[in-house]
């Protein structure tokens, strides 16, 4: 198979974790003796003109990697980057051992997207395992999002499944008070912006995600916002005003026919 590229061989030896509209996600190893990496493969879209597809894929892999590095440099907890092969559409990042916030918070009705995954423990027990309370978790989320926005990165897809909590069993925390760490993931739709509007929409999207995924989410989201407010400092008053506006108009503008 001399014609197969190294990245394709890497993918074929990795385990498929999930498939979305634009990318397949794998768990793999760059070298068998190393630690696991998460491989995000933006596969070819045959409906697109081939050269347009290639250009776009490269740009998006590059964009995601750049957003991650910008976050890292600004002290936002995100996965470290492990490999980039833009021409093949492959991005390799640190594998995070842990659970998503969505999994850890009480969820509403079974929404049928668990793909046969049966949670063994009840979520509250699991949160105990992570050594934090719901309040602390909301605090951590608020701080990370605020740090990200202070770095002028807009996530573009903030949901409780795009946040991970590291498993204390395989993570050495350097903070004596918190045995874990909250990590923001999936910067596939992220972009750079200094606009209050974009940050407010980012928060609004998360608010909607909370409301649609977790019952009685208002106090949780309020707790998250309080931590965000504290971290974000003087930008808050403008942001809060804009968030209220966005809530009223429901993100979308009025439409002219």
């Amino acid at each position: 198979m001399a014609t197969t590229s190294a990245s394709m061989r890497l993918i074929s030896s990795s385990t498929l974790i999930s498939q979305g509209a634009e990318a397949k996600v794998y768990k793999g190893y760059l070298t068998p003796s190393g630690s696991a990496v998460l491989l995000k493969y933006r596969f070819k879209k045959t409906y697109r003109h081939p050269s347009l597809d290639t250009t776009l894929t490269k740009a998006r892999v590059a964009g995601e990697a750049r957003a991650l590095l910008k976050c890292l440099r600004s002290g936002v907890n995100v996965p470290g980057i492990r490999m980039v092969d833009a021409s093949e559409g492959l991005l390799g990042i640190e594998w995070i051992e842990g659970k998503s916030v969505k999994y850890l918070l009480p969820s509403g009705a079974d929404d049928g997207d668990g793909e046969g995954e049966v949670p063994v423990e009840s979520p509250s027990q699991t949160l105990e395992h992570f050594g934090i309370s719901v309040d602390t978790l909301m605090n951590l989320i608020g701080i990370e999002i605020a740090k990200m926005h202070l770095a002028d990165i807009i996530h573009g897809d903030l949901t409780t499944s795009n946040m991970m909590v590291r498993d204390p069993a395989s993570f050495t925390s350097l903070d004596p008070k918190v045995p874990t760490e909250l990590v923001l993931i999936d910067f596939g739709l992220s972009y750079h912006s200094t606009l209050v509007e974009d940050k407010a929409v980012d928060l609004y999207v998360l608010e909607r995600a909370f409301a649609s995924t977790h019952p009685d989410s208002e106090p949780m989201f309020a707790g998250m916002l309080a931590a965000y407010e504290k971290q974000v400092g003087k930008e808050w008053s403008a942001l809060r005003r804009r968030l209220d506006e966005v809530r009223l108009r429901g993100r979308k503008r009025s439409m002219v026919g």
Binding site: L30, G34, G75, I81, M83, A86, G92, L150
Partner: protein, 202 residues
């Protein structure tokens, strides 16, 4: 010495050997030898080039084994795509470690020099070259003590790394400044990620 296998690459570049030498006494001479070998002619030239066919890296600028492995992996990727920016896959490792696109600067900063006493030696080859044979070749050119990779934590020059990667003043660093252990972890993560995404760096 540690051996790493990268099965996704063609056999001739799939086996990577990494060794840390401390108390190195011939770094200056080694540098001159590499330069001379590059232009040496005839069969003697080939022999000499094979003798120094390694990446010799200033160990002070390496933050972790993962940092180095990442530079190696991206160099292998470039080699597999015929996209090397430097002359050999070994020099590509040095190039990848440096945050700029300046090759001369990369070799000057990350390559060996007179002042080096701690040197990391990397050999990229096929699995047919046994670890024993690699080590023998390494020890034939480096005069120093083969040391475990864990010794790196006493060698790393964090101040220089911060300077080269322009990390002073970055929020992640100022936040972690009070706790050296945390600061080092943060720097390692940033530097490793920078190396991984160098090909798409803005």
């Amino acid at each position: 010495m540690e051996s790493l296998h990268f099965p996704q690459f063609d056999p001739q570049i799939s086996q990577v050997s990494i060794a840390l030498f401390t108390k190195v006494s011939n770094a200056g001479a080694l540098k001159l030898r590499i330069i001379a070998a590059a232009t040496a002619e005839g069969q003697a030239g080939d022999v000499e080039r094979e003798a120094v066919n390694f990446a010799f890296i200033d160990a002070r600028l390496i933050t972790s084994k993962l940092h180095l492995e990442t530079a190696v992996c991206q160099a292998l990727l470039a080699a597999s795509q015929d996209a090397l920016r430097t002359r050999t896959v070994h020099s590509e490792v040095l190039y990848n470690l440096n945050p700029t696109h300046n090759i001369t600067e990369a070799i000057r900063r990350y390559g060996v020099s007179d002042a080096n006493t701690d040197v990391i030696v990397v050999r990229i080859d096929s699995p047919e070259l046994t670890p024993e044979a690699v080590l023998k070749k390494m020890e034939a050119v480096v005069v120093g003590t083969l040391s475990p990779f864990s010794d790196l934590e006493n060698i790393t020059d964090w101040a220089s790394i911060k300077k080269y990667h322009k990390l002073n003043g970055e929020l992640a660093i100022t936040e972690a400044a009070k706790d050296p252990q945390k600061e080092h972890a943060v720097i390692d993560k940033i530097v490793t990620s920078s190396v991984a995404m160098k090909s798409v760096m803005s």
